[in-house]
Subunit: 207 residues, 2 copies
């Protein structure tokens, strides 16, 4: 096949296999979402996040979670980016619930502009959000937060830019959704490949 070809049927694209409907938008950044629940800091692991416009982000969180109550009560939350060194703690915060375990015990907590969104000192990037909307889905609350302030470890900054290679973030990909706890993993960020809004410029010549 040559570029520009339209293959009208998936069967003609012989290398492809249809997997049925499943989540496949990976890898995603792993976050620890902070909220005060009954005035105590709590953290839960969330990789099902998103960017809406440049000032707001989303969290897709199952309604069963303990932390949701704090987000709704205070209308604030934080999004903390753990680094590679925190992989055990990060996974642990996804294994146990704040109903039974004091997960803030693992970290040092600080508060910023919003006063009620607890943040983790050990995470190199911390984003404070004001809750602006909840999308009510069948099993999930989608929390949409407006970013109010960002805190970053000074040694991860390159001028005013956050140098993501120094942050050393954790990435998550789910495997087979039928047995996702056996086939899902955390990954490191790899090397810088190319500059954005630049790498494609050689192709401009063809127009």
């Amino acid at each position: 096949m040559v570029p520009g070809t339209v293959v009208r049927s998936i069967k003609e694209a012989a290398v492809k296999k249809a997997l049925g409907p499943r989540m496949a938008l990976y890898p995603m950044p792993v976050t620890l979402v902070g909220a005060n629940v009954d005035d105590k800091p709590n953290y839960m692991t969330v990789a099902h996040v998103g960017i809406m416009d440049l000032g707001s982000i989303s969290l897709g969180v199952n309604k069963v979670h303990y932390t949701n109550r704090g987000i709704i009560a205070n209308r604030t939350f934080s999004v903390n980016l753990p680094n590679e060194g925190l992989v055990k703690e990060t996974d642990y915060c996804g294994l146990v619930s704040g109903t039974k375990h004091d997960k803030a015990d693992l970290f040092e907590t600080f508060y910023g502009a919003l006063k009620t969104a607890p943040m983790i000192v050990q995470c190199p990037v911390n984003i404070e959000c004001r809750l602006v909307q909840i999308i009510d889905m069948k099993t999930h609350d989608i929390f949409i937060g407006e970013i109010v302030e960002v805190h970053c470890d000074e040694d991860c900054l390159d001028g005013q830019s956050i140098d993501i290679t120094r942050v050393k973030p954790l990435l998550f990909a789910m495997g087979d959704p039928q047995k996702f706890t056996a086939s899902s993993s955390y990954y490191k960020l790899g090397e810088r490949l190319a500059p954005a809004w630049e790498a494609g410029k050689p192709l401009l010549k063809k127009d």
Copy 2:
């Protein structure tokens, strides 16, 4: 400081610098979003994506984009994951608009279950979505799509799991938002670090 400490003021967390409100939820997976516009396939580069519940995803797209019209008209779109080898083409699709350039010319296009969501053969993972909601933000349309079908290159599958290390996806991080075109980059995925819902189990003992 010892774990469990609450630092009441950011000033006490001396390593941190406040950067003001800015997008900092990176890295994100880079996608090529496909839509038919006036019955012709078109692709645009979108890294501001998200996972809502396990069956639906979001795209945060500035309203100026040509592709939006096709998504709204057909109420379908595709999310294609380009690999490292497509970095030039992917960047190019973010540099030029479908109003002036036939970007489908770069790829082979196929259609699947939805018939009107064009997908890219060269991208190892293709997600077909039905538009279910639009969140109308000031400058952006947030398109929420229900996943209807996923197609994957057979050589990226490990049983029923998509092996993201074989996909070799592109990741994106924005740098300084004041000069983002000079400080934003594409990155590779790094190595597998640890299994999810497993790595944190040693910490269960401390409870």
